[in-house]
């Protein structure tokens, strides 16, 4: 029998109880479904451990533990569909009494039942004018944080592709800004000449417009080349570069994918192409393809994608960008991450890089490693 605990001890217990909650992976995520737990009550977990698979209407992902210590209660059973913020598990040291752990569980269940979680205010994307173009961005984390991280998506992508990366950064008191390049997402669809310089100016332009002196730039695929070009044009504004499967490292590329993506007008054309982005094609949900089609149907997107395609590929279907050349003389730390099973841009030889188990989308398929790479610069 545990001895009666003093009120000071109880306050201390409460502070030592950690709640693992339903993450928010991307703007549109309202709920997530528990697929499978990798830990059981009684197990001791460390920060970063894979603890549970969660499925949203867009994609399935693995939650890395934000907490460390013994798992005292698993609150959410497999199959449960729970709102963002709902308590999934309770982690607390062994000497915190069961009664207090159970009180947290009861409170968590009541919060879900009341529906209060679903009404919580959520951050909204903002618009900013840069050189006559409207750029959409989402800023998470404290605005007064030191040097923010800026995330730049790839060809045909948008800011939501950072769903597994942006929120975890923000949770650790890091300001993380994901933007939509022109022609993409909710940004204006005018890309001008669609050149790397134009796209890079949009990135540095957003920094200027938001009053950010320096930022850690993270770019995926086309976005990798864009942030490299931004670092070359404005090295003083860039604290580090993290390049995820960046464009411009090899002459080879899956031109059939790129040209097919630009021209695909139906689900039947698009779905097999999108499958090539991932090592695990099961990640391509109906919703993911549908969202891409919705984007591709917007007026002006055809023209934008076609212009940017001319930046990515030459007439011989080889990559037109030379990213290592852009980085020559750029004196900022650079980390490169590549998926070992990338079918769009092959892993280059002779480049120092972190090889991870993923296809062309390491930030979706291996977000933990991508987060590690970004954090290594912070």
């Amino acid at each position: 029998m545990a001895a009666e605990r003093s009120s000071a001890e109880r306050t201390d217990d409460a502070a030592r109880i950690q709640r693992v909650t339903m993450p928010k992976w991307g703007l549109s995520m309202k709920t997530g479904k528990i697929v499978e737990w990798f830990v059981a009550e009684g197990d001791t977990i460390a920060k970063g451990d894979d603890i549970v698979d969660i499925e949203t209407d867009k994609i399935a992902g693995t939650l890395e533990s934000p907490a460390e210590g013994p798992v005292r209660r698993i609150v959410a059973e497999p199959g449960a569909d729970l709102p963002v913020g709902a308590v999934l598990a309770v982690v607390a040291p062994e000497d915190v009494p069961d009664a207090e752990v159970d009180a947290v569980v009861e409170e968590a269940k009541a919060a879900v039942a009341s529906g209060a979680l679903e009404e919580a205010d959520e951050p909204q994307p903002q618009l900013v004018e840069v050189g006559g173009r409207t750029i959409s961005y989402l800023s998470l984390g404290p605005v007064d944080a030191d040097v923010p991280v800026v995330l730049v998506h790839g060809y045909g992508g948008d800011k939501n592709s950072w769903l597994f990366v942006q929120q975890p950064l923000a949770e650790q008191e890091q300001r993380a800004i994901a933007l939509d390049l022109p022609g993409h997402g909710a940004s204006g669809k005018d890309v001008g000449d669609g050149s790397l310089a134009t796209l890079a100016e949009c990135v540095t332009g957003v920094l200027d417009a938001l009053g950010i002196d320096r930022a850690h730039l993270v770019g995926h695929s086309l976005g990798g080349a864009v942030v490299a070009a931004a670092a070359r044009a404005a090295p003083g504004k860039v604290a580090s570069l993290t390049l995820i499967a960046p464009a411009g490292y090899t002459p080879e590329a899956d031109a059939e994918y790129l040209r097919g993506f630009a021209s695909a007008g139906s689900r039947r054309e698009l779905k097999p192409l999108v499958g090539r982005l991932f090592a695990d094609e099961a990640l391509v949900t109906r919703q993911l393809v549908d969202d891409l089609l919705r984007y591709k149907r917007l007026d002006g997107v055809d023209k934008a994608l076609s212009a940017v395609l001319g930046t990515l590929l030459d007439d011989g279907d080889r990559q037109a960008i030379d990213t290592p050349a852009l980085l020559e003389g750029v004196d900022v730390p650079v980390t490169v991450v590549w998926g070992a099973s990338d079918r769009i841009l092959p892993v280059p030889d002779g480049v120092e890089l972190h090889r991870v188990e993923a296809g062309h989308m390491p930030h979706m398929e291996a977000p933990g490693e991508v987060l590690d790479a970004v954090r290594s610069h912070l």
């Binding site: 689900r267 109906r286 007026d299």
Partner: protein, 337 residues
């Protein structure tokens, strides 16, 4: 950015954005502006269920009230289209189309063909269809198949606000005559709709729900009823795939066949009368081209071969419901077992 708006608002927005983009786009119909000589004040009708409300004030001179003479103003719209305008004419109820069949079937539908492609007829005829509004036999029919039958016409029947906007924009930009059928029970339903303009190509079905056990093809309001049935069926372990063709002409046969090839079972849901309908058309196509994939006879869930009754209880019985759809699915899933 997408926000949530209604089906009615989505169509209104599509009309406004296309009128903004292209000055050849005009809107005409009974009470579209709010009554002859209306200054376009806020309480103007905007058509019988308010879809064109507010357009008159924004585009004076381009929203025309017409006499109550469908044969005359549909003919005028078709004539204006051949003359270079892009009219969107509202013919309140699909039930009233009969009085202008010559203009639609024998004129608009034939011009491009008979003039060797030298003439186009970019007219959109907006109309309401479907049962459920307690509007009786002459205002409740689902006559899509009548127009689908005629080569030279295109037929769109959106099931949600997102599709309504994108299909209307496509209809206006299309050079062929389009019958744009708005289900009257969907006007107050909402969906996420981008503020920006976008066109949904005709002949591209929407796979509304994925599932491996049975394919349900449904259109218009029946898409929602099929979804309701699918949720119910999921509880007993049956996963239904729901295909909404969105346009009956052209029809996305490939998507339907691919789905049936994967599931081996087909249920077609159509609130129209059962003979010579979308249901029979889809069933025949699948029976002919995917017979080898079928593991059970195709089931059709339709209205009966009667007019839509006025009595509430009978009208409710007329319209296919989730229970009937689930029953048909169980029949094909359990077949031979």
């Amino acid at each position: 950015m997408a926000r949530t708006i209604t089906y009615r608002e989505a169509i209104n927005e599509a009309l406004a954005q296309e009128m903004e983009r292209d000055e050849r786009v005009i809107v005409m119909g009974e009470d579209n502006a709010g009554g002859e000589g209306s200054p376009g004040e806020a309480d103007a009708w905007g058509g019988v269920l308010g879809v064109t409300k507010g357009l008159y004030g924004r585009f004076p001179g381009r929203v025309l009230d017409t006499p109550i003479s469908e044969s005359a103003f549909i003919g005028a719209a078709i004539g204006a289209a051949t003359g270079g305008m892009r009219p969107v004419a509202e013919l309140m109820f699909i039930d009233f189309m009969g009085v202008c069949f010559d203009q639609i079937f024998n004129q608009a539908a034939k011009f491009r063909y008979m003039f060797g492609g030298k003439a186009v007829t970019p007219v959109v005829i907006r109309t309401m269809w479907g049962a459920g509004l307690r509007a009786a036999a002459q205002h409740s029919q689902s006559l899509l198949s009548v127009f689908t039958h005629v080569p030279g016409l295109k037929v769109a029947a959106p099931s949600n606000a997102y599709d309504a906007k994108g299909l209307m924009i496509q209809a206006i930009r299309d050079d062929d005559p389009v019958i744009f059928a708005e289900h009257k029970m969907l006007y107050d339903t909402s969906a996420d709709v981008p503020e920006e303009s976008y066109a949904i190509p005709f002949g591209e079905a929407n796979v509304v729900r994925e599932g491996g056990d049975v394919t349900i093809v449904a259109i218009g309001r029946m898409v929602h009823t099929a979804l309701e049935a699918a949720e119910e069926l999921a509880g007993s372990g049956v996963q239904a795939e729901i295909v909404d063709p969105r346009t009956t002409s052209p029809l996305d046969v490939d998507t339907i066949l691919e789905s049936v090839e994967a599931t081996g079972r087909l249920v077609v849901v159509d609130e129209a009368n059962p003979r010579c309908s979308l249901a029979t058309d889809v069933a025949a196509t699948v029976a002919q081209d995917a017979f080898g994939s079928l593991r059970a006879p195709i089931q059709l869930v339709t209205g009966p071969h009667t007019p839509v009754p006025f009595a509430d209880a009978l009208e409710d019985l007329y319209i296919p419901d989730a229970g009937r759809i689930a029953g048909a699915v169980k029949k094909v899933v359990d077949y031979g077992g």
